[in-house]
């Protein structure tokens, strides 16, 4: 359909777009028809009338007659004077005047006729149109009427249906009423029953309420009692605590007393035995210090104090286990010196309750204790600790040179006068094997509390030993190398959180190490 002479136009694309445009067609709604539509016959007739009209118009023009002399006749032999031409014209017109009038009349009437014909054609078309319209309307009416009657039928049958349904509904309703009455009677019965039951429950409830009330009162009373007991309880607790403390103390005291009496008794027994032995034995036995009465007296005098001293130690020294713990501090020194490797015995002078010896035994050392206090020696022996009842220096003198790996004396030297002390130190040095060591522990007078006060708790103490002096003495007796060790500090002091030097000085004066030991190493 498309005919394009332009090479740039894509005809297939154009056809596509035509299809798209056609798809978008929407019919145009226009107002009601104003002019009757043409039928083919009327169109033909009107066209005919148009051409007739044109002919008549032509005729009209021609009917006017010539207005001027025709050009054709301007040639010879028709050339006349100008006036002649006009005259000829006027003559012509005069002659044909009537005809002209007739012609014009014909033309006018024809025009009128054409006009009327045209009008009638239009009317005809309109009438036909109207007729068509009316018959269409009539048909539409008929169709509508039929439709209405069918609808009416439908309505009627529906109504009958509804009335039968209504009857059914009514019978149903009466049935339901009967059932309702029956139900009501039942309900009445049930409610009466319920009332009776309710009364019963009411009585029970009241009783229960009374019981509850009673229970509550009792409960309150009980509570108050308990509270009273509660109040008394701490006081009772306190009392029982006090009582148990007292009991402990009593127990302690009785134990101590027990021991004291036991040891005293043993001592007395011994003395008596000795006495009896002496008394019964012939004279001439070796005169020993202990066999002379002087010695005996001295001995008895001295040994009289032994149980006392034992009890005293118990009271003031402290628990055995505690002492052992404190003495553990020296074990590393022994390890360092490899004392055990010497495989020589360790001697503890003034072994007392045998704490150090127990410790050594635990660590695997071969050890022996020496104490002048029989009670102490007995105690050690009762613990399976080897102990001699002998004077320390005497014991040492009995030992060969370099026969011991370790010699110790805890809280001994403060009991000795200076000469004795030096002798002790000398003997110690002789007895020790090369590589051995000696430890002498004693209270530290640099702690004023110790030096000025606590030292004197033990009446057998003579005087504190000034640490540098002790060291000097050790050096003096021939130890190759000596050192001082300060032990047993006070754990909690009022000066703990004071960093200032003044407070630290005070701390060292009053709460510094309470004991020290001087260690000597033999080469």
């Amino acid at each position: 359909m498309i005919e394009s002479q332009n090479p740039d136009i894509d005809v297939s694309l154009l056809n596509q777009k035509i299809e798209e445009a056609l798809a978008k067609q929407t019919p145009v709604v226009r107002g009601a028809t104003v002019v009757a539509a043409e039928t083919p016959e009327s169109a033909a007739r009107l066209a005919k009338l148009d051409s007739l009209e044109a002919l008549v118009a032509d005729a009209n023009i021609n009917a006017q007659g010539p207005q001027r002399w025709p050009q054709k006749l301007d040639r010879f032999p028709f050339v006349l004077a100008k006036g002649g031409g006009a005259f000829a014209l006027r003559l012509y017109r005069f002659l044909l005047k009537k005809q002209t009038v007739v012609n014009l009349a014909f033309v006018r009437s024809l025009q009128e006729v054409i006009r009327l014909l045209r009008q009638s054609t239009y009317l005809e078309v309109e009438l036909r149109e109207a007729g068509d319209r009316l018959s269409l309307e009539l048909q539409a009416e008929r169709a509508q009427r039929e439709q209405l009657s069918t609808e009416l039928q439908a309505e009627r049958s529906q109504r009958e249906q509804l009335s039968t349904e209504l009857q059914a509904a009514q019978s149903q309703r009466s049935q339901l009423e009967q059932r309702l009455q029956a139900l009501e009677a039942q309900v009445l019965q049930k409610s009466q029953l319920r009332d009776g039951q309710q009364q019963h429950y009411e009585a029970e409830r009241q009783q229960l309420a009374l019981e509850r009330h009673a229970a509550q009162t009792r409960l309150i009373a009980l509570e108050q009692q308990v509270q009273g007991w509660d109040r008394q309880f701490p006081a009772l607790q306190q009392q029982s605590q006090t009582v148990s403390q007292m009991l402990l103390q009593l127990k302690e005291q009785s134990l101590q007393g027990d021991r004291f009496y036991k040891e005293s008794f043993t001592q007395q027994q011994r003395l008596l035995t000795l006495l009896f032995e002496q008394a019964s034995a012939p004279t001439g036995e070796a005169v020993t210090e202990s066999s002379t009465s002087q010695g005996l007296l001295q001995e008895s005098q001295r040994s009289q104090l032994d149980p006392f001293y034992a009890a005293f130690e118990d009271h003031f020294r402290g628990e055995r286990s505690e002492i052992m713990k404190r003495l553990e501090v020296y074990l590393p020194c022994l390890e360092k010196q490899k004392t055990r490797a010497l495989e020589l015995p360790a001697i503890d002078l003034g072994c007392g309750r045998g704490e150090w010896l127990s410790l050594l035994n635990q660590e695997g050392y071969q050890s022996i204790g020496v104490d002048l206090n029989q009670a102490m020696v007995d105690r050690c022996r009762s613990r399976d600790i080897a102990a001699h009842h002998q004077d320390a220096i005497a014991y040492l003198k009995e030992q060969p040179n370099a026969s011991a790996s370790l010699v110790t004396a805890f809280h001994l030297i403060e009991h000795l006068p200076l000469a004795t002390l030096i002798e002790l130190l000398g003997e110690t040095q002789r007895v020790l094997a090369p590589g051995g060591m000696a430890i002498f522990e004693t209270p530290n007078p640099q702690n004023f509390m110790v030096g000025a006060c606590n030292f004197y708790a033990d009446p057998t103490h003579i005087n504190p030993v000034f640490p540098p002096s002790a060291q000097f003495m050790m050096d003096n007796v021939g130890f190759a190398h000596t050192e001082l060790m300060f032990v047993n500090p006070v754990m909690q002091t009022p000066f703990d959180h004071r960093d200032e030097p003044e407070w630290q000085i005070l701390r060292s004066w009053f709460y510094g190490p309470r004991d020290y030991s001087v260690l000597g190493y033999k080469e």
Binding site: M1, E3, Q5, I9, L14, V28, V35, A47, D50, A54
Partner: protein, 779 residues
């Protein structure tokens, strides 16, 4: 150059080298360069300093000064009623763009008059123009908006050339502006786009006197080859698309950025970046990854950016000149322009130096294209652009065009030959009427003959009183035996015999006899006449050795009837006839948004207006908002006319169809200017002048393929060869009316075809006839 050559005047409201405005710069460039080429140039301007100053204040001193090689003559400004001016100006600026109507004043007449009278003005300048018009060779007025131009141009219209610097704004629609456009002797445009806009606003009548001179650019002045890094971006390493110019919604920057963001979203791995430079801020939510906002850049940076870019994208729809595109082309880089912006898209299309895009989707596609194209292809496009730019934006070429337009070239115009020296050639017509194609042709030919020195008259049997002064009545004219005769023949009449018997040199121009069958059902008597005419035609074949037809179609008929070697003399259509404002009432009433379908031609059965009415009824189902306009003589006694009226009534299209009857040239111009589509169902045309007229007014043509129509259309228009399916034809009409791409293609071909009927072309053929006559006379 003769030393005493008259100066060329450049009339402009402000003039100084430092002025930054587009028009001021153009004035400076043109004046300076004309002077450089040796022409004496005088600037006629006011004492006002610049556009920003108070227009009633005189900054400069009046009088003549010399600035470089220019003479600058300043005149004092008048004290105008600035309040009224501001009112009028504000009214113009507030007119809604969508309510612009071609040929209709956008504001009240008093306001547009006030705009002209209270504008910057200098009575002294106007007096100078009046008095000294003869001292100057030519006047160049620019730009179109201001007092000295609006008031001054009409005073020297016959020597005036207007460089309007036109934009699609309310001012351009004022009748005062249309007046100077039509009055000027010549129009100078800086771009094809501006010329297209002017044609749209003022009609094709201005085309013969318009010249697209162009505006030059000076690229490479600030080029620094060492500059490779701008704002941290290494130009040589990164491939990027460049956009230069103000960044805001009026320049369509958001469309560009959105298109790039879409491209980036689909191709996150792409290396192609988008660099945007120019004044204005970019809102943060327009930005995205890969977009670099360079802000304002220096001239050197701008040139570096242009050199290394892959392509330049110009998305703005509001440009009157494609400066940045030209600059890009100077660096052999291709450019992309927006389809809807005439100035830029025409240039890109004409140069073949880039791409066009319209929708956001198309712009996104362009990013793909730039990324995927071979560098060689981009280079080739850029080179094509460079060629175009060198031709169009090169100042030397531009000034050459100015010189040609102003008539400064050294080509001597031939001195007019004294009339009557060569003899007489007359034209004989059966009927001579106002607006008739054949009559117009005869008038044109006569003017040409008289120019060539011939004595020439038009002799006619039936003369329309309106044009009785142009023709001589046949009965009274004495035809000299030795005179040459051009006989225009259609139906036989009294003059045919005279022509037959004429002894002098003669030729017959055959304008086609309508086949009788068309009139049989309507006017049998006319049918009979037509039949008779055809029969008689055969009898003329022996008497006219020289014969011409309006078209090859006509010539073929002659040949079939035995005429020896008939040739073709087309009818000439000269657009200068429309170099006047179109009828404002018609313009106002037809620009209401409806699709205007036009057919120009006498109401006659062979033109099948009734078929067109039936097809239009189908058309209305697809495009309800439309009207059909029949422009052409009608006889109320004509049966065909009655039939047509009845059919219109039947189809109830009385509201939508307009029968105008015969119209004046201004009204005809208005109908063409407002037409959306020219639709012909005619089954017989000897030439069909309205087709060519439609081509000049850029109205696409849809025609039934018959008789001489395909020949006249050439590659223009679109034809169909089957009339049975009116709905399909109507659908095709909607496509031609609405589809932008198809319209463009059709109009492009039409623009190529229409110059084939310009007087120069046709009259050259007339000259051939004259030669033949001369030979006959000699022999």
């Amino acid at each position: 150059m003769k030393p005493t050559a008259k100066p060329i005047a450049v009339v402009t409201p402000w003039f100084a080298e430092h002025l930054k405005g587009g028009a001021e710069q153009q004035a400076w460039q043109v004046a300076t360069r004309l002077a450089q080429r040796g022409h004496p140039v005088e600037i006629l301007t006011t004492c006002s300093g610049s556009f920003q100053d108070n227009w009633a204040k005189n900054t400069y001193k009046p009088g003549l000064t010399e600035v470089g090689n220019l003479q600058v003559r300043r005149f004092k400004v008048d004290q105008t009623d600035q309040g009224r001016f501001v009112q009028a100006n504000t009214a113009l600026l507030n007119v809604d763009r969508n309510s612009f109507r071609i040929g209709a004043n956008p504001v009240a007449p008093e306001q547009s008059a006030a705009f002209r009278s209270e504008n910057i003005n200098s009575e002294k300048l106007l007096q100078h123009l009046r008095k000294k018009v003869d001292h100057y060779q030519a006047f160049i007025f620019l730009p179109y908006l201001y007092g000295p131009i609006l008031n001054g141009l009409p005073l020297v219209a016959e020597k005036a050339f207007l460089q309007p610097c036109l934009h699609d704004e309310a001012y351009a629609y004022m009748p005062e502006v249309a007046q100077i456009i039509h009055a000027a002797k010549g129009l100078l445009f800086i771009s094809e786009g501006e010329a297209r806009l002017a044609t749209k606003l003022y009609g094709p009548g201005i085309l013969p006197k318009s010249v697209v001179a162009g505006a030059g650019i000076e690229a490479g002045k600030h080029f620094d080859p060492t500059l490779k890094i701008v704002n941290g971006v290494d130009l040589a390493e990164t491939p990027y698309v460049l956009s230069l110019g103000r960044r805001d919604t009026t320049k369509n920057t958001h469309t560009l950025l959105q298109a790039y963001n879409n491209f980036r979203a689909e191709q996150p791995e792409s290396k192609l970046q988008l660099l945007v430079a120019g004044p204005g801020d970019i809102p943060a939510d327009w930005m995205g990854p890969g977009i670099v906002d360079l802000g304002l850049v220096s001239e050197t940076e701008k040139e570096a950016l242009l050199t290394h870019c892959q392509a330049l994208f110009q998305t703005s729809k509001n440009e009157s000149y494609s400066r940045v595109i030209m600059e890009a082309w100077f660096y052999n880089r291709p450019a992309a322009a927006h389809q809807d912006c005439l100035a830029t898209s025409l240039a890109v299309e004409a140069a073949g130096g880039g791409w066009l895009a319209q929708t956001g989707e198309e712009w996104t596609q362009l990013f793909y294209k730039v990324e995927q194209s071979e560098p060689a292809l981009l280079e080739k496009l850029g080179q094509a652009g460079r060629q175009y730019a060198q031709e169009h934006a090169n100042w030397d070429n531009i000034m050459g065009r100015y010189e040609a337009a102003l008539g400064l070239s050294s080509v001597e115009s031939p001195s007019p030959i004294a009339e009557g020296r060569r003899g007489s050639i007359h034209q004989l017509l059966p009927g001579f009427a106002y607006g008739d194609a054949i009559s117009n042709q005869a008038i044109r030919i006569r003017a040409h003959l008289q120019e060539q020195g011939w004595e020439s008259e038009i002799i006619a049997v039936n003369i329309d009183p309106k044009v009785s002064h142009l023709a001589q009545p046949f009965e009274q004219f004495k035809l000299d035996e030795r005179a040459s005769l051009i006989y225009h023949h259609s139906i036989g009449c009294e003059c045919t015999q005279t022509a037959l018997e004429h002894r002098g040199p003669k030729c017959m121009v055959y304008h086609n006899i309508t086949p009788a069958r068309f009139f049989e059902s309507y006017r049998p008597e006319i049918a009979a006449l037509l039949q008779q005419g055809r029969q008689e035609l055969g009898g003329l074949s022996g008497e006219f050795p020289l014969s011409y037809g309006d078209s090859a179609y006509n010539a073929e008929e002659l040949e079939e009837l035995g005429f020896p070697n008939p040739k073709v003399l087309p009818i000439t259509i000269d657009p200068t006839r429309w170099d006047k404002p179109a009828d404002p009432r018609t313009m106002a009433s037809l620009q209401d948004g409806k699709t205007n379908i036009l057919f120009v031609g006498r109401i006659a059965p062979n033109k099948c207006q009734i078929d067109l009415v039936r097809a239009f009824a189908e058309y209305q189902t697809m495009d309800r908002n439309s009207r059909l306009i029949f422009v052409g003589g009608m006889d109320t006694n004509d049966p065909y006319y009655h039939h047509l009226r009845r059919v219109i009534q039947e189809l109830q299209l009385e509201e939508e169809i307009l029968l105008t009857g015969k119209v004046s040239a201004a009204e005809l111009s208005a109908y063409y200017q407002t037409a959306t589509l020219f639709w012909s169902m005619s089954e017989h045309e000897g030439f069909c002048v309205p087709l060519v007229e439609s081509m000049w007014f850029d109205v696409p043509i849809l025609a039934y393929c018959s008789s001489a129509i395909p020949e006249t259309l050439g590659e223009g228009g679109l034809m169909f060869n089957d009339k049975t399916d009116l709905t399909r034809i109507a659908a095709l009409a909607t496509v031609v009316a609405k589809d932008e791409a198809l319209r463009r293609t059709i109009l492009k071909a039409q623009r190529r075809r229409r110059p084939d009927f310009l007087p120069e072309v046709v009259l050259a053929k007339v000259d051939a006839i004259l030669k033949q006559f001369e030979q006959c006379l000699v022999s």
